[in-house]
Amino acid sequence: MATTNPMTDPTPALEQHAGSLLVVLPELPADRLRGLLTQLTTSLPAEHLLIAVPGEPAAEAFPGIRFVAFQAVLPSWTLTASEFMNAQQLAQRNGARGILLLGAEADSLTPMGVHSLLTAVDSGTADLVVPRYDLQPRAGLLNSSILYPLNRALFANRVRYPLSIDLGMSLRMGDRLSAVAQRFVSANQGNATIWAVSEASVAGLTISEADVGTRQIPQPADPDLNSILPQVTGSLFSDIEAKAAFWQRARVSAPARRLSPAALSSTTDAAAEVASLLQGFRLAYTNLQEIWGIVLPPNTMLGLKRLSLVDGPAFRMPENLWARIVFDFLIAYRLRTLNRGHLLGALIPLYLGWVASHVNAIAAGEIPERHVESHAAAFEAEKPYLLARWRWPDRFNP
């Protein structure tokens, strides 16, 4: 006679989910979540996935998919320290073999992009998988002007978007990032930015990029550039300062990627945009000379003076000038030449000058990615200048 076993299955969740790929999703409406889950399950079988969602998962609405809940953190436009910690804890608790963190508006990823990310993480060939987005020429300007060139020159990798929005990582990468995140969370800074690419470089872990196509890049809640730029650059400068022992050793960067042709932008509104940006640049040059003069050496100030006299489409910030400006601000950040809030606030008009130069370059028909790459190459070429000033800091301009 057949009998049913009254005992419940004692197999713990660890064993049930062991070997799965943990995919941590942001909070999404049900219909958008469904679309994203469909893309995920198309790329990998559902039994190989463990989906982590904030709050209680509506598992009955998505049969066949295994869910695990986690406590929602404050939404942010980038991946934060709290999210890294939560992801690693979930992975350890459930015995996952890899982690894929998808940031806000992840449902805007194309199916190809989702597939590319998933398979890159699933293959386990790299400890850190960073997506490479196809952005418009006028998008991601802060990344193109400061984040990417600095990361390339100092950490010798050509990750195009070092600011984490989506990330794939191995368990040991997750361990390292979780340890870094722990320090921020302990200091009650759960929303701090973690620079995963530099952490991987310093740890000697492998990094790969996955082409994911277009994506809706989430924007900060506070859209004011005057507060976001200092926050992002300040975080990056602090990270660079903490890793000075690593990047001062000579490195060889990865070979260049083939540039893809980009869509040309309209030239009709470029003149008005550039005029507005240059107005701000000249106003800053008139009023902030005293502050810039504390940070920048005389030859850089001379270069800025010449630029302030140029108008319209002829305005082009030389690559080496921009590289030295960023390096000088980095050194001033380290030396605390000025209050750091004032220092990063004084960088904003110079950044907008670079933006004007970039818009002019695009309007003139130059491939935007080539313009960005030439600036990044200038950062690499000017690295000895940074090393010299870093090692022998002088508290007055040469």
Partner: protein
């Protein structure tokens, strides 16, 4: 009267008259006595307070040397244990970003703390010797503490004025206000005038006159700023605000990006 008259008439008097120089000698004698006594009192006071004065300088010098040694030891010790790096690592990059490194702040703080302690001990010793030497129940200590407080007020006010001026300047420039430098100067002088009034009030100099002058000056500066910004540059302000709104909509990173083609806005992230 009759004696004087008789003296002038050279009539024999019943008593012999005293010579004139004897009265003058007595006056000079009294005067020199008075001078000698006052000189003696002052010199005695000075001699009495000299040990206190010497104690003041010795205390200040000793504690300055102690402060220098302590500062050097703390700087070396904190550098050895990588105090700055540990602080950033364990506390993360915080909102407070001082101009100097934490190690420099701690070592300088310890030095100036020792100097201040030496100053207090020295002043106390000087005050004690002055009080015992002087016949008047007066003490220098309260006035000296007021003076020290006034100096601290002045230093703090100057630092705050410079910081606020620079903050306003950078903020106004980034907001693309044409009168950024004017605003910055106005803020700086407002804080400096306030500081000066507080210092004079602390030193109990001027009294009501200072308070009145401060009120008039402060109100005048505020009124001038208001008139200049509100009325005198009305067109400029409206143009600045209009261009600020336009730039906010361009620079607004929430603006939806068109996929391709003309009219796409700048997106910084």
């Amino acid at each position: 009267m009759f004696n004087i008259l008789a003296m002038f008439l050279q009539t024999p008097a019943t008593e012999p008259t005293l010579p004139l120089y004897t009265d003058n000698a007595s006056i000079w004698h009294h005067m020199s006595d008075a001078l000698h006594q006052s000189l003696y009192r002052v010199l005695s006071l000075l001699i009495a307070v000299l040990p206190g004065l010497l104690a003041f300088f010795v205390a200040l010098a000793v504690f300055t040397v102690i402060g220098m040694i302590l500062s050097a030891v703390m700087r070396r010790g904190l550098t050895l244990i990588k105090f700055d790096d540990r602080l950033v690592r364990y506390r993360g990059p915080g909102d407070w970003t001082p101009t100097n490194s934490p190690t420099a702040i701690v070592s300088r703080g310890s030095f100036w703390g020792c100097v201040l302690l030496g100053l207090i001990i020295g002043v106390s010793a000087f005050d004690a010797s002055y009080a015992t030497a002087s016949t008047l129940p007066l003490s220098l200590l309260p006035y000296l503490t007021h003076a020290v407080g006034a100096i601290f007020l002045l230093i703090a006010g100057t630092i705050i004025a410079r910081f606020l001026a620079r903050s306003v300047l950078i903020g106004a420039v980034n907001a693309q206000l044409q009168y950024a430098r004017f605003l910055s100067l106005g803020v700086k002088w407002l804080v400096l005038v306030l500081t000066a009034a507080m210092v004079l009030d602390h030193l109990e100099i001027g009294g009501v006159v200072v308070e009145l002058a401060f009120g008039i000056l402060f109100g005048g500066i505020v009124l001038t700023l208001s008139l200049a910004v509100g009325l005198g540059s009305r067109d400029l302000v409206s143009r600045s605000l209009e261009s600020h709104v336009e730039r906010s909509s361009e620079r607004n990173v929430d603006a939806p990006p068109p996929s391709n083609g003309p009219g796409e806005s700048l997106r910084h992230f």
